[in-house]
């Protein structure tokens, strides 16, 4: 226990590791996309790493996690296999979905990462179904749905919310509010741009936190997880954040005119990794050297994942029908 931070040290080292892993992973994916080594569209998570990493920090392998088109960060944070997701982005047979799904359809059931759906709002209700299952099994599992602010424009979000509350399900709704649905800013789409305020009338436990601050997120979701495990019903956490890159792909879409360079820069100054690393170093949880070593280790891991992916085989068209039925 670090007294100044008043939080478990090991946890925050894990969160830091997770964030760095996601950052390097995504930077690598950006590289290979730029080099056109992959065709598969990729929605990168850079800038939002604190959210997945802090939310998943205390989740168990038996807990369920559901994700979206922007899936890589959630997958890695939940402990998904870095080789298998990299191979999937390359659409290879050794990929987590055998090359059938690509970046937007990833899975690692060993660690409770159930699926990602590229249909906006598509996985929220499915996550609630896992929460229903969890409640029936009564073994303290929780189900977590990650989704963006855009997904709250789909009616199914409200249906799902209502059902989870009425049935007091062990469900955590995690809204990553980066204020954009592709090119469209929140105020052009939403009557109340704060999701947590908008849904207060549903009588659900909500919190709104700085999505670039792992301490805030971790603390808030911790209470929610406890509530859920104690059969005290669902919660919604709204994490305000920003995506650094374009909606899809590796570039920094400043040319299209929907967002300003200064906004991006301001948010980049609020880099969640730098923030957490500084805090941990200043509070002597880790040293600068340890941090650098940690980065090296993870860099290696990601490089190896790329090698793994490239060495993986392409799916054999003879088996194209495999997996249609079970």
């Amino acid at each position: 226990m670090n007294e100044k931070l008043n939080l478990k040290e090991s946890t925050f080292i894990s969160i830091l590791k997770s964030m760095i892993r996601i950052r390097f992973f995504e930077e690598n994916v950006a590289e290979i996309a730029k080099r056109q080594e992959i065709q598969c569209p990729v929605h990168l998570y850079i800038g939002q790493e604190a959210i997945a990493s802090s939310i998943c920090a205390d989740l168990r392998n038996s807990d369920y996690v559901y994700s979206t088109h922007r899936s890589h960060g959630h997958y890695l944070a939940k402990g998904g296999d870095v080789n298998k997701i990299m191979a999937e982005i390359y659409c290879r047979e050794e990929g987590c979905s055998r090359g059938r799904g690509g970046s937007m359809h990833v899975i690692d059931r060993n660690v409770g990462f159930m699926l990602s759906s590229p249909i906006v709002g598509g996985s929220i209700s499915i996550a609630v179904g896992s929460a229903l299952a969890a409640k029936m099994k009564n073994k303290g599992q929780v189900s977590v749905a990650f989704f963006g602010d855009g997904a709250t424009d789909e009616g199914v979000f409200y249906e799902s919310l209502n059902f989870a509350i009425v049935n007091k399900l062990p469900m955590i709704f995690v809204c990553e509010n980066n204020s954009f649905s592709t090119h469209l800013p929140d105020f052009l789409r939403q009557s109340n741009t704060s999701v947590s305020e908008r849904v207060k009338g549903f009588n659900i436990n909500v919190d709104k936190v700085d999505g670039n601050n792992p301490f805030e997120i971790y603390k808030s979701v911790g209470k929610m997880i406890e509530k859920a495990r104690n059969n005290e019903g669902p919660s919604l956490i709204e994490c305000t954040t920003y995506r650094w890159l374009s909606h899809v792909g590796y570039w920094q879409d400043l040319d299209i005119g929907y967002r300003k360079k200064v906004d991006v820069e301001q948010w980049m100054n609020r880099c969640p990794i730098k923030f957490l690393a500084n805090e941990l170093i200043q509070n002597e949880v880790i040293t600068q050297d340890e941090f650098i070593k940690l980065e090296e280790e993870i860099k290696n891991q990601i490089n190896n994942a790329v090698i793994f992916a490239k060495n993986s085989s392409s799916p054999d068209p003879i088996f194209i029908m495999e997996g249609l039925y079970n």
């Binding site: 598509g122 499915i126 249906e159 209502n162």
Partner: protein, 324 residues
């Protein structure tokens, strides 16, 4: 063997699977009231309680996703739509998710989900409360779609659907609920991919399913009096389709009449005919014929309904012309 009603057969099947598998749960709008589902749910709420019999708000889209999520997490949900018309709200979950998840995720994420979809024809209920849109689901890869025509199959196929690891759209027609047939009391399954040659004959093959089978049976009796003997094939499953059984029959009779309870264009009848002529047109002695609904939303007035819904007379007449 005891004769029981089609609706009672569905009820029996559900009692048996809920008894056998703790993992079977039920969910849907109105499943706990006879208003929506006739007698098919009798006794289930009392016996299995609200935890396993979840009557939901009218949130068809989320409810379907919830059923999928439960199916991915160790349960085998039966999701009921009291009218097929309401399924449009849930198409994203049915077609984008339930149907393709397992494939897109590499083959190890089975969705053992049964969707009971009920057709409500007639009764001056008009366009939005009378639809038979089974053909839409037939088009979606990853689904299985069955539509039993009698109590025996209704029971056996519902049990088989629950035991199957894939999403199965199980289609009932309320018009069938009162029809009786012999049904064993015990647990049995009927395969989800085999058509049934209900009657054998030599002059003509009639292919049909669900409620239209009932109209066909009446027509076939009348045809027998005219010395026309019919191979009457009950499709039972429209995805997958048992092409072999149909083609075998055509080889014998050389004539094909397809009777389907849905719309004409892009319907089941078109698919059956296509299968036959792409694989065995040489066996056909005359143009195949399809009897379906016209390409028209259901009208309310029963006078128009009578013109809208094809019946045994129409089948009889078509068969006669085909065999002349």
């Amino acid at each position: 063997m005891k004769k029981i009603k089609y609706s009672a057969a569905i009820n029996q099947a559900q009692h048996l699977v809920m008894d056998k598998y703790e993992s079977v749960i039920q969910i849907g709008v109105g499943i706990n009231t006879p208003w929506y589902v006739g007698q098919t749910m009798n006794g289930l709420l009392n016996r299995y309680g609200e935890e396993r019999m979840i009557d939901t708000p009218v949130s068809e889209n989320a409810t379907t996703g919830i059923a999928i999520g439960a199916a991915l997490s160790g349960y085998r949900p039966i999701l009921t739509f009291p009218r097929m018309d309401f399924m449009y709200y849930a198409m994203d979950q049915i077609c984008n998710h339930a149907a393709s998840l397992n494939y897109s995720l590499g083959g190890n994420s089975p969705v053992p989900l049964v969707i009971r979809a009920i057709i409500n024809r007639k009764g001056e209920q008009a366009a939005q409360h009378s639809q038979a849109i089974h053909a839409l689901f037939m088009h979606i890869p990853g689904l299985k779609v069955v539509m039993p025509s009698n109590a025996y199959d209704a029971k056996g196929m519902l049990i088989a659907a629950v035991e199957d690891n894939n999403p199965v759209i199980y289609i009932e027609d309320r018009e069938l609920y009162e029809f009786e047939s012999e049904v064993p009391e015990d647990y049995y399954t009927v395969s989800l991919d085999k058509a049934n040659v209900e009657l054998e004959g030599n002059d003509l093959t009639i292919v049909s399913s669900s409620y239209m089978m009932h109209q066909c049976r009446i027509a076939v009796k009348a045809l027998a009096e005219k010395k026309i003997s019919v191979d009457l094939i009950d499709l039972r499953s429209i995805k997958p389709i048992d092409s072999e059984t149909i083609l075998n029959s055509i080889r014998k009779t050389g004539k094909l009449l397809v009777v389907d309870g849905g719309w004409l264009t892009g319907g089941v009848a078109a698919e059956i005919i296509s299968i036959v002529v792409t694989q065995g047109m040489q066996y056909l002695k005359s143009n195949p014929v399809r009897i379906t609904l016209p390409d028209l939303p259901a009208p309310a007035s029963f006078v128009l309904e009578n013109a809208y819904y094809p019946d045994n007379t129409k089948i009889f007449q078509s068969a006669i012309s085909l065999c002349l």
